[in-house]
């Protein structure tokens, strides 16, 4: 009576090292991994917000991941709304890093975009630059905060807190891009079958 869906628990292996050209620089990249949110599956339960709080202990009002309502209008004549999970996308060419005057934001070789809070000057340029509203500003400390993809955990072989299978909707996926694409493709196929 086992369940086979989505190969739970999901195992994501760091494959081999690759040589890639990134931002015009040739570099040795340890298998790149991504965080993908399947917003269609999100129920708005905000478990991810609290999982992040438990790990990163951000103070009241500072959210490195947060869920909002999105009203895209009618869907096939039916009123529709979605939840949207907002978090740093660790962009290929992060505009926040471009704009930061003190180089507090950088893209690591493994793809993670890190905001070094100690170097932050509090100018808020990154907050404005981020197209995903994923950078939050702490007025008390006068510094910016964003998701560092739990780089301390990832570095030690642990999944980011929000993606460590806490989500009851299984909508947060961390791992190798190919593996995640396969999962999302299968989910989308099943959803289309039920429509």
């Amino acid at each position: 009576m086992g369940r086979s869906l989505n190969a739970r628990p999901l195992l994501t292996r760091w494959r081999s090292t690759l040589t890639l050209t990134l931002n015009g620089r040739r570099m040795l990249v340890v298998q790149k991994y991504i965080l993908r949110i399947d917003n269609e599956a999100c129920w708005g339960c905000k478990t991810c917000e609290v999982a992040c709080k438990q790990e990163n202990q951000a103070r009241d009002g500072i959210k490195l991941i947060y869920v909002t309502e999105d009203w895209p209008g009618e869907n096939a004549g039916m009123l529709n709304f979605l939840y949207q999970v907002n978090i740093c996308r660790h962009c290929e060419n992060p505009p926040c890093a471009e704009t930061c005057p003190v180089e507090a934001i950088s893209k690591r070789d493994d793809g993670i975009v890190i905001l070094d809070e100690a170097s932050c000057s509090g100018c808020k340029a990154c907050v404005e630059a981020c197209p995903y509203h994923a950078i939050t500003f702490d007025n008390h400390g006068a510094i910016a905060h964003k998701c560092n993809l739990c780089s301390h955990r990832v570095h030690s072989g642990l999944m980011p807190a929000c993606a460590d299978n806490v989500c009851p909707a299984h909508c947060i996926h961390f791992g190798a891009p190919g593996d995640i694409e396969n999962i999302l493709t299968e989910k989308a196929k099943n959803r289309n079958n039920s429509a």
């Binding site: 009576m1 369940r3 869906l5 989505n6 739970r8 628990p9 999901l10 195992l11 994501t12 292996r13 760091w14 269609e40 599956a41 999100c42 129920w43 708005g44 339960c45 905000k46 478990t47 917000e49 609290v50 999982a51 709080k53 438990q54 009241d60 009002g61 959210k63 009203w71 869907n75 039916m78 009123l79 529709n80 709304f81 979605l82 939840y83 955990r153 030690s156 072989g157 642990l158 999944m159 460590d164 299978n165 806490v166 989500c167 009851p168 909707a169 299984h170 961390f174 791992g175 989910k187 099943n190 959803r191 079958n193 039920s194 429509a195």
Partner: protein, 716 residues
């Protein structure tokens, strides 16, 4: 190179330097989810889901993850206290457990002697896995009065399923229902007793079709194949309409109907009283949509109804439950894989036996408050709250002198809150066991510090009907807090019940497990025990009802003098039943839609959870808001004939412009005065609790749909 895997406990231990990890069983709601608790320096340091748990498969919710903030909250009550000033003076002094329980015991024995055991009422709120121990002490004392949420929450599902098909039919998510009808419920953010959101999500992602019945556009409703936006409180009519389609289009399971049901002909006559034109007029749902939903549900196999509490907090409580069971049964989805299964519990001493109901003398059971009026409830040891308030305030039919609330906050959660408050102010003696000084606890004489789930050994999910039991293992001790079971075990000895209890409650756990042939210490070593899984058991033995059939026509209700067939009753206050009042109060108010992070009155002091919802919100359609001059975020006064409260406007297009939806159970723990703002946003100030508005069989109070008016608060 790293190999990632979920909840890698070994690596967590290494990386964070935790001292230990303990597998346990969360109870931030009714219980259910398997968890890993990481401990460092004797304190809970992190909580994660248990990937091997068959209930949650490693996932958790915001409440479970925030449990340590509950356990170590600075406002937590960590020793017993006695009130030293008048009620609401907020003056308390620390006392010992010995003095606290000694005082409570003396009061219990004194009232029993002078007014009879029935003058002592024990109470709990929603199910927190202490109910069997509470019934045990009450029954052994001779009090038939245990005040719970059972009249309008889960109790009706148990009572009506027992009289219809023998036990509560639980969705077999493991075997992937192909069609799910989610009725007045949102399992993705709530915990409707035996269910979690995770298996529902997985079934949906595996391709199940979804029908949602809800006056509000929930996210599942937005994602559904069909959303039926009914007029609040008309669930029974809608279900009768669907059954009408299923009967007249012969979409039912003929073998099941012919061989395993009782009362088919009478039932068919009844559903024929509900043609779709009539149902459309009652429910506001277009008849074609009703027909489409009935067909989709009936022809897709296996199919299941995901139900919850909303349909029970209405005048049609018992009939709503029965009608949804009829939808399950007549479509052939009872006791089949992927349908709704009459699961068997493992062989243990069940909640009924542990509750010692057989020890309550007949003449005492006959005194159950409201038992003559609400006869189905009475048979299941359930009472209607107003019956208790009346007995306190008017001493009718006899005086109630003592209330002992264990994990209950009735001034927020019971209808007609001002009456509840008066009763609690007036009662001769009141004890409370809770985590915090709640608005209810502030009215007590003695308050006891209760353990959270992190601080107790217990057999988790012992009362549920999904067939699993799981060990809840004690992780830490906080202050002098005691689990409700340990506290009651101690108290029982002090009131002369020693022979029925144990030296320590661990032996009580051994007693529960005895038929399984293991002790608590042995149970602790395993992950879970599941009862035998078998389908279509009724083919051999019939159903466990008086006729051995699935009773469409209830022989039990008939004997009690009720209509044996389900019907639609108009809710007590509505555009239809009270048109004059509707002119003054021109909106239908629905209450109690769940908020992730909160569990009824709980968690508004937990920082990570309060951060999810700072203020109470009332949902108003943008057109209605414009008409009333209300903007997003404005404070709004919501008023019914009983009173008024304030909540913040949330403009929400997913609701009918004639309906507004307010949140329930709001108080403000951050306000330090003894009332803690209990009546400022508490929606039960507005609800009514008159007997005539309650379900005639269960005594369920109608708190979900009433009439109101709204206006912008001055000074916004």
């Amino acid at each position: 190179m790293h190999e990632f895997k979920y909840a890698n406990a070994e690596r967590e231990m290494e990386f964070y330097g935790y001292d230990s990890v303990i597998k346990s069983h969360c109870r931030m709601c009714h219980g259910g989810c398997g968890v890993l608790v990481f401990v460092k320096d004797g304190k809970v340091a992190k909580i994660a889901g248990d990937q091997d748990c068959p209930i949650n498969h490693g996932t958790l919710c915001s409440k479970g993850l925030a449990s340590a903030q509950l356990a170590y909250h600075p406002d937590r009550l960590t020793y017993p206290v006695r009130r030293v000033g008048p009620k609401l003076s907020g003056k308390w002094e620390r006392i010992s457990w010995d003095e606290a329980l000694g005082t409570i015991a003396a009061r219990i024995l004194g009232y029993k002697e002078k007014y009879g055991a029935e003058s002592v009422v024990f109470g709990y709120g929603t199910g927190r896995e202490n109910e069997a121990a509470i019934y045990r002490i009450a029954n052994l004392l001779g009090s038939p009065n245990v005040l719970t949420a059972g009249h309008f929450c889960y109790g009706p599902r148990i009572a009506t399923s027992i009289i219809t098909c023998g036990t509560n039919p639980i969705i077999d998510y493991e075997n992937f229902p192909k069609c799910i009808m989610m009725w007045g419920n949102n399992v993705t953010i709530s915990n409707p007793d035996c269910y979690k959101g995770e298996p529902f999500s997985v079934a949906l992602d595996a391709g199940a079709k979804l029908i949602v019945i809800d006056p509000r556009l929930t996210r599942p409703a937005a994602r559904a194949n069909l959303w039926l936006q009914l007029r609040p409180g008309t669930d029974a009519a809608l279900a009768l309409g669907m059954l009408n389609v299923i009967v007249n289009e012969e979409l039912y399971d003929k073998d099941f109907v012919n061989n395993y049901t009782y009362g088919w002909d009478d039932f068919v006559k009844r559903v024929n009283e509900y043609p779709l034109e009539r149902v459309e007029a009652i429910t506001w749902v277009p008849r074609e949509k009703i027909r489409e939903a009935a067909r989709l549900f009936a022809v897709t196999k296996p199919a299941a109804v995901q139900w919850g509490v909303a349909i029970e907090q209405q005048i049609n409580c018992a009939d709503n439950d029965r009608l949804l069971m009829f939808l399950m049964g007549l479509t052939g989805n009872i006791d089949v894989p992927g349908g709704q299964v009459l699961f068997k519990a493992p062989p243990i001493v069940n909640v009924g036996r542990f509750g010692a109901h057989d020890k309550l003398p007949q003449e005492q059971a006959a005194k159950r408050l409201g038992g003559e009026r609400f006869r189905l409830a009475g048979q299941f040891a359930i009472i209607n709250p107003k019956a208790v308030w009346d007995a306190v305030l008017d001493e009718e039919p006899y005086p109630v002198k003592m209330l002992f609330f264990i994990s209950s906050n009735p001034v927020l959660t019971r209808a007609n809150a001002r009456e509840v408050y008066r009763a609690l102010e007036q009662v001769d003696f009141m004890a409370v066991s809770d985590f915090f000084m709640t608005p209810t606890a502030e009215l007590a004489d003695i308050v006891l510090p209760a353990s959270t789930w992190l601080e107790m050994d217990y057999i988790g999910d012992f009362w549920k009907r999904h067939g699993y039991i799981l060990p809840r293992r004690k992780v830490v001790q906080v202050g002098e807090c005691r689990s409700d079971h340990e506290m009651l075990n101690d108290l029982a000895h002090r009131i002369g019940q020693g022979e029925y209890w144990w030296d320590s409650f661990e032996s009580g756990l051994d007693y529960i497990l005895e038929p399984l042939g293991i002790t608590w210490q042995e149970f602790k070593q395993i992950d879970y025990v599941r009862g035998e899984v078998k389908y279509k058991k009724y083919k051999e033995k019939g159903f466990s009802t008086p006729t051995r059939k699935f009773e469409l026509y209830s022989t039990v209700l008939e004997k009690m003098g009720y209509d044996p067939l389900p019907q639609h009753r108009e809710i007590p206050e509505s555009p239809v039943s009270t048109p004059d009042l509707y002119e003054e109060y021109p909106y239908i108010l629905i209450t109690g839609a769940r908020q992730p992070g909160f569990f009824h009155t709980e968690n508004r002091q937990i920082p990570w959870l309060r951060e999810l919802h700072k203020d109470p919100q009332v949902e108003i359609h943008p057109e209605t808001a414009a008409k009333e001059g209300i903007k997003e975020g404005d404070w709004v006064i919501i008023e019914s004939p009983r009173g008024k409260v304030r909540q913040r406007a949330k403009l929400f297009a997913g609701i009918d412009p004639r309906v507004v939806a307010a949140q329930h159970a709001w108080w403000y723990p951050e306000r330090k005065e003894p009332g803690h703002g209990w009546d400022e946003s508490n929606i039960n100030i507005l609800t009514d609790n008159g007997y005539e508005g309650c379900d005639p069989a269960m005594g369920a109070t109608n708190v979900r749909a009433l009439l109101c008016r709204i206006k912008l608060e001055l000074g916004n």
